[in-house]
Symmetry: C2
Subunit: 365 residues, 2 copies
């Protein structure tokens, strides 16, 4: 059975961050699935992506859509909750229950807003490691994540080499490229320049009704970066929205309607300050920073690494996963590199499960 | 010698547009280079891209940068102005002197703004054909253009098959893809949602000083679509702007500074309504519309076609040029297809002249 449970943990000790700053206290929202066995040997840690949350699988009452990797995780599924105890936390900085820019800046009852510290991927996984320790979990059968979740999986394996026996990284990179940073720049600029954003001093819940156009514009760029030329052509072609006139200046193609609908919808449930902080963490992610080389950064890894990349992923190229694999090989460390032949684009890790399920199964053997 | 001359022609007869609407009167700004020979057999027509202008070559007094294809066109250059009479017009709808949304809506002295008719690529080339006719030019040795200029070259060859003996099309397509439309959507949305745009009722010259952030945000998306993952990595890597702190939320990578600088700069000299109208013309461009197939649309072509595509062009894929070539072949019409091995991206047609000059020379033989 799935046995979906949601939790929130509160920590009153300071969390020391890479920037030199401190979060104190802080909270972490998380979900678990399945049942922890007696010797705690059946833990699988899942890390979420930029706009994901700890709600990975199952469906809450009243919810129309299941968790974001429901096709992969559940009773009898690839990550079988009859066998494994799965845990996923909302990263700090995100807006689904963990401490974030709109949390109260204790002891004040005002939100942090820009007083929130810049976070790194290493800070995110540190908070998670502390949570797992507090639950008495010091080892995992496996850790897995895609996109920013893959960055966390890599960073976790590097910082806590004795934790996960297996690490599976999908559609990720060891250092965010100029191309990906450029896409994020559009979001940042569009949010900052939207007067409704009020330079970060908007009311809580201000965008629940009508959204925030600046963030929607940025999200359109996001959607483009998550898809590919080919997947867009397949999905939309040059279909025109019915009743929109071809010679009307604002007549729309279906792809335009899709971008409008999904982007504005997104801004009703995602917080713009969280977005700014998380894309910052993604932009400055560089596993090799402070090391002589990527191989040097990975030399103490003790996990069995599986890297899954997608051919048409324009955000994090297969080449970037391959570089991690080669660095592992240079260290004589166990690594498997898989390039999935998919034209879908970056989002393949969320959408084309059938193409890589077998590789997850294999990695979990 | 270059013999750069700028002109403006005014037409008082109505220009009948594809939409069923009319422009009357209308003006066309254009530049010429070289000298028209006695039998008018040395004409080369050049078509410009989205944000280009009729200023293709040479440098005006006080100008810091030469025309946009100065590396290709001039005395002794690939398109030799000692031999050829080169002519390039500013497309109608654009903001460099031809009739555009900010022109007076005659007989009123108020700008058209949204009363300006939606234009198509076919409308643009029709206006140019009328201009050439008025100059007594009924045939061209060759016609050439890249990106939207390539669309015009194709459309021109299709509508006026007896005009150009040779047509050279770079980095273009026969029908704009969903992917390209999606990029344009970001620009449209960002311009429309910027309060300084005033729903199109801004003052003339309002953005000459501080630019228009909505258009800058859209232009950032443009820059991404013109470049490639690889060219961005090569150009910027992960270099951080000096004096910007890594742990400052708004500390910047060099790629971010580049996007900011170039995008805001662009908005000081390009009109946002022109931008909206031109991206609309690009979006709805489909050479095969109204025909059974692309081959059917091309069957009356009498020009020797040369198609030059660029491997890493994400906006207009080599595949799309290849489809034109195949349609020409299906019609037993003369066509040469060249794919340039470049990682630069779409902008290669403006930047990597050395990679394709020889093919232009060959096409002009």
């Amino acid at each position: 059975m799935l046995n979906l449970q949601t939790h929130k943990a509160r920590f009153t000790n300071p969390l020391y961050l890479e920037s030199g700053r401190i979060l104190e206290p802080y909270e972490i929202a998380y979900e678990t699935y399945g049942t922890l066995n007696d010797d705690k040997s059946n833990v699988i840690v899942v890390f979420h992506a930029l706009t994901g949350s700890h709600h990975v699988a199952g469906t809450y009452e009243g919810e129309s859509k299941a968790g974001w990797w429901d096709g992969l995780i559940g009773a009898g599924k690839t990550i079988d909750t009859n066998r494994f105890f799965v845990i996923c936390t909302n990263v700090i900085g995100s807006c689904f229950g963990s401490t974030s820019p709109m949390s109260d800046n204790y002891p004040s009852t005002e939100p942090f807003r820009y007083k929130f510290p810049v976070l790194t991927i290493a800070d995110m996984v540190k908070a998670q490691y502390i949570l797992f320790s507090s639950l008495g979990i010091h080892h995992a059968f496996a850790a897995i994540g895609g996109s920013m979740g893959g960055m966390q999986a890599l960073q976790f394996a590097q910082r806590y080499p004795n934790f996960a026996a297996r690490t599976i990284v999908l559609a990720a990179t060891h250092a965010t490229s100029a191309y990906a940073i450029a896409f994020n720049k559009i979001s940042q600029e569009a949010i900052l320049k939207d007067p409704a954003f009020k330079n970060g001093y908007y009311e809580k819940g201000a965008f629940a009704q009508n959204g925030l156009s600046g963030m929607a514009i940025g999200r359109m760029a996001g959607h483009i970066s998550f898809l590919s030329h080919s997947s867009m052509s397949k999905k939309f072609g040059r279909d025109y929205v019915q009743n929109d006139g071809l010679y009307e200046l604002f007549g729309r193609f279906e792809v335009e309607r899709y971008l409008e609908y999904n982007s504005y919808n997104f801004t009703r449930w995602f917080d713009p300050l969280s977005y700014l902080y998380i894309i910052k963490a993604i932009n400055i992610f560089d596993l090799g920073r402070g090391y002589d080389s990527l191989a040097d950064a990975l030399k103490h890894l003790k996990t069995k690494l599986t890297l899954i990349s997608f051919k048409a992923d324009l955000l994090f190229l297969p080449q970037e996963s391959l570089e991690i694999h080669q660095a592992m090989q240079a260290n004589n460390l166990p690594s498997t590199y898989i390039e999935i032949d998919s034209n879908y684009g970056h989002d393949a890790f969320l959408v084309e499960l059938e193409l890589f399920k077998e590789h997850i199964t294999k990695a979990l053997q």
